[in-house]
Symmetry: C2
Subunit: 209 residues, 2 copies
């Protein structure tokens, strides 16, 4: 197996954190997003969406999408379980992971990509050019704020996002909180429950992966 | 178990189609989105995101997000498998389901919600008001077109979206194709592989659920 990766990007970090929790070590291929290597003919043949991470499996399948990659690794390396241990826990993990990805990670990306000159003609990932829409910067900040309110509420009653156990949903949320820092959003300042949770999760060795 | 549902909305249809394929019959509670019942205090206590579908499980857990609900139902009713039968098939199903949801379903929703007067102050699902952004109508159409190109390519070589077997990814795609019709996008006209696939999947009894 090989992981097509880029150190600074949030989605590959989700997979690296996940692998570190399981003790999985595999070769990594650096795809330099700053040089637009993800849009090369060579990489688009691997993943037409032009995104990292991509996992190349031992049978030569290319898997994109962080969730799909992590579920695959979970099946091969079930311990420790990071998608819960029961159908209920698994469903709650998938539910929260989806909420984090759609309402959190994408909201922060909406701010960054519509704001930063580096994304001027690449406001959406992939090979197709899209111009920036300035109204999406403020909208993204609002969405991100509402998202952090919601997870802050959830973390008032729960140790971890999807329940009592640390899971892929927490990995996704930690990466999203750090990603929000790129656009000067610090969601912890006014949300003590999120800060308590963050300290706990950021202390795990996998958070450095 | 009970399903909080709305007949006309695309996401609940994914769950109904899935349940029909498995022969699962449970009571349904209608949440009338046309009357904004999803934004009532009562429903927001069930799902703060203000979205359907929501599955109330036998232990009283409320599960939101179509993917999470369907994975839960798959664990309780494994036959026939609709998330593949191997780790590889499962990963490909999750990968394509994510691509359909993010690049297809959300792109079509971007067109509809920024265009239709009914969504004027509700351009994003949930309780928070967001104004329409006219530039997103054209952007959504472009994104949808590129998405349908991609799945059309995939269906040139494959019987079903995630491989040889019918899966949750096909359910998500069928619902997205029909949803695109709401904004006068007919992706089959210029993509024969998609049309071949559509005829096959639309003929399943579950497509009427």
């Amino acid at each position: 197996m090989r992981l097509f990766d880029f150190d600074r990007a949030p989605n590959p970090r989700r997979v690296r954190f996940f692998m570190a929790e399981k003790g999985i070590v595999i070769p990594r291929v650096n795809v330099d997003l700053y040089r637009h290597e993800q849009l090369s003919q060579e990489f688009l043949a691997i993943n037409p969406a032009g995104t990292v991470p991509v996992l190349e499996t031992d049978d030569g399948t290319y898997l994109a999408e962080s969730l799909a990659i992590c579920r695959y690794l979970e099946a091969l390396h079930p311990q420790p379980p990071l998608f819960g241990a029961t159908p209920r826990e698994e469903a709650l993990t998938l539910m929260w992971a989806n909420i984090v990805e759609n309402d959190g990670l994408l909201a922060v990306a909406e701010v960054l990509r519509n704001l930063s000159p580096g994304f001027r003609n690449h406001v959406l990932p992939g090979p197709h050019p899209y111009p920036q829409i300035p109204a999406l910067v403020d909208r993204g900040r609002q969405r991100a704020g509402q998202f952090f309110d919601r997870v802050g509420q959830q973390l008032l009653h729960q140790q971890y996002l999807a329940g009592d156990g640390f899971s892929f949903a927490d990995i996704s949320l930690l990466v999203t909180v750090d990603f929000a820092g790129w656009v000067d959003i610090n969601p912890m300042r006014t949300r003590p429950s999120l800060e308590r949770w963050y300290r706990q999760v950021a202390a795990r060795p996998g958070a450095q992966a």
